[in-house]
């Protein structure tokens, strides 16, 4: 098979620039042929709207909503708090499940239910139980992210090579050493893949919670512009959410690179997503 690894960077960059150009042309042509700003607008108005949003100018007709800087901060905070909470709960639960069979048997039905049923359907009901404030949104983000973290951690611990475990046992490692020095490092690639996939889930959850619950943050802003039929601003917020998602997704990748500089990236686990 041909590999992209041997291709010079300049060629890659050139082809990417060409595909970016093609994308912009297709977008512009679609906007021109639709000819209706209620359906789609071209890249220029969207960029103008994005710039004015970032300068904290809001268009008329949208009184009473947050400025873009507050909205971005709030969404980011929801994503990060929910994600960190999910890691703080999910990694220990996954470790315990992978280590002790009884725990696995007890927790597994909950986990497979949480994993095969789209948890997002609970959000409208949760509103009545937990309200629509910042903590409610963090909780929703946690709820949607945590099963991904647990499943991947569990998978990593479960398939730690027996050879490693035997060595630890025969050299008389205590339970604590066994967990900290053998199980945790050996399952780290899977834990990190779980974090990578979980971060994607956290972004979805946070924005969805904003749309369905509070109407604040970037999600709320997006739907406000949709409601007042301001397509350029609506598409600018969509673009902003996409860019923010891509940026936040780099965090687990950075962690991965720091922890596994010694390892070939390709050999890492791809993780279990939904």
């Amino acid at each position: 098979m041909k590999s992209s690894a041997g291709t010079p960077f300049s060629v890659k960059l050139g082809i990417f620039a060409a595909s970016l150009g093609l994308f912009i042309v297709v977008w512009e042509v679609a906007a021109l042929s639709a000819g209706n700003s209620l359906i789609i607008v071209g890249p220029v108005p969207v960029l103008q709207a994005l710039i004015s949003l970032l300068q904290n100018h809001l268009p008329g007709g949208t009184l009473g909503i947050q400025g873009a800087d507050d909205a971005i901060l709030q969404t980011l905070a929801t994503i990060l708090f929910g994600f960190i909470l999910a890691c703080a709960v999910g990694i220990p639960v996954g470790l315990v499940m992978g280590r002790w069979k009884k725990a696995e048997m007890l927790i597994d039905p909950w986990l497979s239910a949480a994993y095969s049923i789209p948890i997002v359907i609970l959000i409208p009901m949760l509103y009545f139980a937990i309200g629509a404030d910042f903590f409610a949104e963090v909780f929703v983000t946690f709820l949607i992210t945590v099963s991904t973290i647990i499943v991947n951690t569990h998978h990593g611990v479960k398939y730690v090579s027996n050879a490693l475990a035997e060595v630890g046992k025969s050299y008389g490692a205590s339970e604590r050493q066994f967990m900290a020095k053998i199980i945790l490092p050996a399952s780290m690639p899977d834990i990190i893949s779980g974090m990578r996939i979980g971060m994607g889930r956290a972004i979805l959850a946070a924005v969805l919670a904003e749309v369905l619950l509070s109407g604040n943050g970037l999600g709320g802003m997006m739907m406000t512009f949709q409601d007042v039929l301001d397509t350029p601003y609506m598409m600018a917020v969509v673009l902003l959410i996409a860019l923010m998602g891509i940026a936040v997704l780099q965090l687990p990748k950075l962690l991965e690179r720091r922890l596994f500089r010694w390892r070939e990236m390709e050999s890492l686990s791809r993780g279990i997503g939904r």
């Binding site: 359907i121 994607g200 969509v238």
Partner: protein, 261 residues
């Protein structure tokens, strides 16, 4: 046998514990506008199938939701598999598409909702578009990485025996990629379901997700809970059917795989 019995016992126990905890919380809160207990929800669930107006609502909602999921998923497979194969096989296509696939893959489903609303309004068509957009990149990524990992010696062998491009594609690459295609389908169906449900919850007037959200808005929490159970059963059924199909399709491959504990 013993093992499966133990598993069944744990499952039944889990359900009981769940219902009990739910019942205790509902009784403690004791406010039907915050949380309804399992008994009322169960009653509402039964009413969904016995009360004619509710049954009609359920049937029409169910029909729209299931059709949207199937259409979005089918479109994503029809588009995603060829694109993934081409990306894996031809370097130019790979370099051209790879950044875009990764970028679009990282966009959360909810961001597509207002765009689709602009294109086709608050309708089932929009749900299909959202399900398609959220599923297709998952399919592409899995098919692509499968094709990339086809062992070079298989292809070389085919070439040495004078296979044409078409033969290499259909007799070597596709069969060798089948397990990854199936993983893509399995992940894809749950994303398609989630996409449709998210779209319907935001639209509030389309499909079963819409009926559920609408019921919650009107404070009919028991009805809303019963519909959540229906949606959960639908998602489980879809996931099981696809899992069954994909396991059958790659049974020959798994029989050659290493034996795991």
């Amino acid at each position: 046998m013993r093992e499966s019995f133990a598993r069944f016992a744990v499952l039944a126990g889990t359900l009981l514990v769940f219902a009990a905890v739910w019942w205790v919380i509902a009784a403690a809160v004791n406010n039907p506008r915050e949380i309804v207990g399992p008994v009322q929800t169960g009653t509402a669930f039964v009413r969904l199938f016995t009360d004619p107006p509710l049954t009609r609502l359920l049937a029409s909602g169910l029909q729209v939701t299931i059709t949207s999921i199937l259409l979005g998923f089918a479109l994503a497979v029809v588009v995603g598999v060829p694109v993934g194969v081409l990306m894996g096989r031809y370097l130019v296509v790979d370099l051209f598409c790879d950044p875009w696939v990764n970028i679009w893959y990282s966009i959360p489903a909810i961001a597509f909702v207002p765009l689709a609303m602009n294109w086709t309004g608050v309708s089932a068509t929009s749900s299909v578009i959202i399900a398609f957009l959220i599923t297709v990149f998952t399919v592409i990524i899995n098919v692509y990485s499968g094709v990339r990992n086809v062992s070079g010696s298989l292809v070389d062998c085919g070439m040495a025996y004078g296979a044409t491009q078409t033969q290499v594609m259909t007799k070597i690459i596709l069969p060798a990629t089948l397990p990854n295609i199936m993983v893509g389908l399995r992940l894809g169906i749950s994303r398609a379901i989630e996409g449709v449900i998210i779209a319907e919850m935001v639209f509030t007037v389309v499909g079963l997700g819409g009926v559920m959200d609408d019921a919650a808005d009107n404070l009919q929490l028991a009805l809303s809970g019963a519909l959540i159970i229906v949606l959960a059963i639908v998602s489980l059924a879809f996931a099981e059917v696809v899992k069954h199909m994909t396991t059958r399709a790659v049974a020959w491959k798994e029989s050659q795989a290493m034996v795991r504990e």
